[in-house]
Subunit: 200 residues, 6 copies
Amino acid sequence: MANFDGPGFSMVDDSWIQTKAIDVEPSTDFSPYLSRILEDCVWNGDRAIVFDVYWDVESVNTKSERRLSSVKLSTKNLCLFLRLPNQFSDNLKDLYRFFASKFVTFVGVQIEGDLVLLKENHGIVIRSYLEIGKLAAVARGTPIVEFLGARELAHKILSCDMSRLDSIQSKWDEAGGDDRLEAAAIEGWLIYNVYDQLQQ
Amino acid sequence: MANFDGPGFSMVDDSWIQTKAIDVEPSTDFSPYLSRILEDCVWNGDRAIVFDVYWDVESVNTKSERRLSSVKLSTKNLCLFLRLPNQFSDNLKDLYRFFASKFVTFVGVQIEGDLVLLKENHGIVIRSYLEIGKLAAVARGTPIVEFLGARELAHKILSCDMSRLDSIQSKWDEAGGDDRLEAAAIEGWLIYNVYDQLQQ
Amino acid sequence: MANFDGPGFSMVDDSWIQTKAIDVEPSTDFSPYLSRILEDCVWNGDRAIVFDVYWDVESVNTKSERRLSSVKLSTKNLCLFLRLPNQFSDNLKDLYRFFASKFVTFVGVQIEGDLVLLKENHGIVIRSYLEIGKLAAVARGTPIVEFLGARELAHKILSCDMSRLDSIQSKWDEAGGDDRLEAAAIEGWLIYNVYDQLQQ
Amino acid sequence: MANFDGPGFSMVDDSWIQTKAIDVEPSTDFSPYLSRILEDCVWNGDRAIVFDVYWDVESVNTKSERRLSSVKLSTKNLCLFLRLPNQFSDNLKDLYRFFASKFVTFVGVQIEGDLVLLKENHGIVIRSYLEIGKLAAVARGTPIVEFLGARELAHKILSCDMSRLDSIQSKWDEAGGDDRLEAAAIEGWLIYNVYDQLQQ
Amino acid sequence: MANFDGPGFSMVDDSWIQTKAIDVEPSTDFSPYLSRILEDCVWNGDRAIVFDVYWDVESVNTKSERRLSSVKLSTKNLCLFLRLPNQFSDNLKDLYRFFASKFVTFVGVQIEGDLVLLKENHGIVIRSYLEIGKLAAVARGTPIVEFLGARELAHKILSCDMSRLDSIQSKWDEAGGDDRLEAAAIEGWLIYNVYDQLQQ
Amino acid sequence: MANFDGPGFSMVDDSWIQTKAIDVEPSTDFSPYLSRILEDCVWNGDRAIVFDVYWDVESVNTKSERRLSSVKLSTKNLCLFLRLPNQFSDNLKDLYRFFASKFVTFVGVQIEGDLVLLKENHGIVIRSYLEIGKLAAVARGTPIVEFLGARELAHKILSCDMSRLDSIQSKWDEAGGDDRLEAAAIEGWLIYNVYDQLQQ
C-alpha cells in the first residue's frame, strides 16, 4: 500500500502530519497515493481535500504563461506533494481524473484564478470545489476574510500560533526542501481546520 | 417492457433500488429504459430525475479534454447506468433528446461545470435542471451546503447512516462492478431524498 | 378567418381549449393563425402568450446540434402547434416577427437555454418574455419553484388534478398524436393559469 | 421649423398628441424633427424621450438577421415615426448621434435585447437609457412589472382605459396606417405617463 | 503657465467657471492645461475631475462606428474642452496617460458605455472612475437617479435653477460656440456639485 | 542582504519608510529586494503588500496600448520601486512569480482594470489580492469609498494630514525624482494604514 514515508511533522495541537513528496516522471505511478488520500478523507468523515497548485512562469514571445508545476493535497493526517514534469505524460490523467471526482470537495484559498488557469492551460476541471474564504466571509459575517491568503485566513478563524510557518516563509529563498514541505503541511493543516470549524 | 434486471440494493430505510447497467454500443436500443425512468418519475408524483455524468480524460496535444463516458439516472425506485461508446452513434440522440425534456426536472449536485462541458464538448443541453446544493443553501439558510458533494450534502440534510457508501468509496480502486453500481444507486437515492425533503 | 378546427379538449375546470396543429411547409400561410392568437390574447386582457419550443437533435461531426422543430403557442382559449420544416423558408419570417412583437409578453418555463439557442442557431429574438418560474419564486417566496418544469410548477401554484397529463406523459412513446396535442394543450393551460394567479 | 403635420390624436385624459411619420430616403433631412423632439422634451422639464425600435427579419443563409426598420420617438406632446431605408445612408448619422446624446434619457420597455442588436448590427449606442419596467418593479415592489410589455405595464401603473389601443392591436394585420400611428402614439403616451408617475 | 483665457461664466450660485477650448492638432501641446486641471483638483481637496466624452459617427461599410471627437474636463473652477483630430497623433498620449492617473477620480454620468468604447476603439483605460448616478441611487435610496442624464440627476440632488442650461440645450442646433461652451461648463459644474453633496 | 539604500522619508506619524528605486535591466538581479519585502511583511504579522502598477502608452496603428512600465511594492517599513525595461527579459520572471505568491495578499486601490491588463498584455496573474476600496465600502457602510483613489480613500478612513502628498502631486510635472519617490512612499504608507484600520 502507498506509504507516506516522507518526513512527519508535529502541528501546534500535537497532531501529526505524515508527508510524501514525489517527483513525477512519465513512468511514475502515483495513483496509490491518491487512493490513500481519498481513503483518509472518507474515513475522517468530512470528504474534504485541501489543495493548492503552484505555477511555473514560461515566456512565450513577449508574454508570460503559466504551467502547472506542482500540486499539494492535504487531508487530516496526510500531505501529498506532487512535482509535475514539463511535458504531459499519460500518468497525469490519474491526477486529472482525481480532480474531477465528486466523492470529495476540494477546498482551497483564493482559487478562482487557479481554476480558470487549470481549465484554459491544461483542460483540468475540478468539479466539486469550495473557495473557503468566500464561505468564511459569509458564515462569519466578516467580509475581509474572503480576500486573505491561507495564513491570514487561518489566523482570523483559528487564532493559533503561526511562528513556525512565519519563520520558514520569511526566509523562503534560503529554506531547504524539508522546511518547505513542513510549511506546505502546516498550511494544509490550517485550512483543513478552518474548514472543520466552519462546519460547526 | 424494459426490464431493470441488474442487481437490486436495499437502502438504509429498507426501500429497494432496482438497477440496470448498459454498455451502449451503436446498435443498442436503450430508449425503453429511458421510457421506464420517465414513467417511474411521473407516477412518483415529483417529476424529478437525479442524474450524474462521468468524464473520461483524453489528451489532445499538450492539453487534456473531457469526453462523456457514462451517465447515471435515478428515480425513487430505479437506477440506470449507461456506459457510453467513444464515438458518437445515432442512438445517442435518444439520450440527448431525453436530457432536453421539460417533462421532468434533472436534479444534480455541483453540476454547473458539467452543464458547460456537456454543451461545449457534445452540444448537449439540459433544459430543465436543478443544482440542488444551491437550493438547499437558500432553503436551509446554511451557505456551506452549496459547495458539498453528494454524500456530504445528504449527510447534512438527511443525517442517515452512510457507512455502506463510505466503505465502497474509500476503496474505490479495488471495488468490483456491483459494489460500484451499489454506490451509484446509494448516491442517487440520497439526492432523491434530499430533493424530497426540500420540497416540504 | 383562421379556424382552430383541430380537436378541442376540456380542462379540469371545465374550460375548453380549441387546438390547431399545422405541418408547416414552404407554401403554408400560417399567419392568420398567429393573428387569431394575438387577437385572443388581447381580448382576454392580459397580453400573455404561453409558449414552448421543441428541438430536434442533429449530429454535426462528433457534436450534436439543436434545430427548432416545433413551436407551441397558447392563450386562454386556443393552442396552436406548429411543426416546422428542416429548411428555412420565407414564411418562417412571420413566426420570427411574431416572436419579436412587444404587443404581448411571451411566457415560458425554464426558457433561458431556449432563448440562447433560438438566437445562436436561428437568429430568433424574443423581445418581451417572462421566465415564469423565476417570477413565481420571488412572488411566492419559495425558491424551489424557479427550477421546476411546467407540471410541477403548476402543481405547486394551482394544486389542481394532473392525472390526465400524467397519464399521457408517462407513456409518451406510445401516445398518439391527439393525446400529445392534449398534453400540450393542458401544459399551456396550466402555465396560463399560473400566470393569471401571479398577477393577483 | 419642423412641422408635426401628421394626424393628431386625443388621449383618454383629453391631452393631444401631434404625430409625424417620415419615410426616410437618402435625401431626407429629418434632423429638424429631432431638434423639435429635443426642444419639447427639454421644455417639459423631464428630459425624457420614450422610444421604441422595430426590426425587419432578413434571411442570411439558414439564419435570420434583424435590420432596424423603424424608430418611434415620443415626448409629452409629440410622436415621431421614422421608417428607415434598407441601406445605410449618410443622413442616418443624425439619428445615431441623436441616440448618443446625454441631454436626455431614452426610456423604453423591454429594451435590453434591442440595445444589444442596435450595437451588434448597426453600431448604434444609446448612452443614456432607462429600462422602465425594471425601475417600476423596484420602485413599486412588484417584480412582475419588470417583464410586461408596454400596454400591461401601463395598465398596472396607470389603470386607465385601454380599449382604443386594444381595438387596434387586436386587428393589427387589418389596421390602416393611421390606426397604426395612433396605436404608436398611445403606447408612447402611456410610457411617458408611467415615467412621470414613477418620478413622484 | 497654462492660461484658461476662454470665456468665463457665472453659475447660479455666483461661482465663476473659467474655460478653455482647444482644437488639438498634431503639434498642439495641451499638457500644461492638463497639469492645471490636476493642480486645481488637488488644491480643492477632493481629487475629483468631472469628465464627459463626445463621439463622432463614422460609417464603416453598413455599420456605424464611434470615434472620440472631444473631451470635457471640469474641476471646481475650470472647464477644459478638447476637440480631437481625426487621426491619432503622438500628443494624444498625454491625454491617455492623464486618464490612466490614479491621483484623481474621474466622475461621469452614464459612462459605462463610454468606458467600453474608449477601450475597444482607442485602447484608452480610465483606471479610477465613478459612475455618479449609481452612487447617488445607493446613497439617496432613489433608484431612478441611476438612469438619469446629467441635468436631471443634478435637478434631483441639487434642485437649483436650470433655465440657462435648458435654454441653450433646447436650441442646440442653433446655439453658437460660446453658448455650447457655457452649457458644457454648467453641466460640469452641476455634476461637480452633485459629487460634493454626496460626499457629505 | 538587499539594502534599501535609497532615501528614507518620515511620515506624519513619525514612522519611517526606507525606499529603493531600481532601473531594471536584463542583468539586474532584484530578487533579494523582493525577498526583503516578503520578509518584512511576514514579520509585521499581516502578510499584506500594498502595490501599484504604472503603464506606459504605446501606439499600435490607430489604437493605443498599455505596457507595464513600473511597479511599486510597499510594506510597513519599506517601499520598492521597480522601473521595468521595454523588452521582456528573463529576470522579470522573478517578479511574475512574486505576484503569483499566496504567502501574502496584494492590496491595491482601483486595481480591477489593472488586473485585466496585467493578464491580457503580460500574462501576469496576481492570485491573492484585495481591492481595498470595495472592502472599505462594505466594512464602513459608505459606498462612495469604493470609487475613490488612494489619497481620498485614505483621507476618508484615516483623516490624517495630506499636505505633503498634495504639494508634490499638484506639481507633478515639475517634481524631481526624490519627490516622486516620496509621494509613492506616502501613498503606499497610507493604504497600508487603511488596511491596518480595516482589520480591526
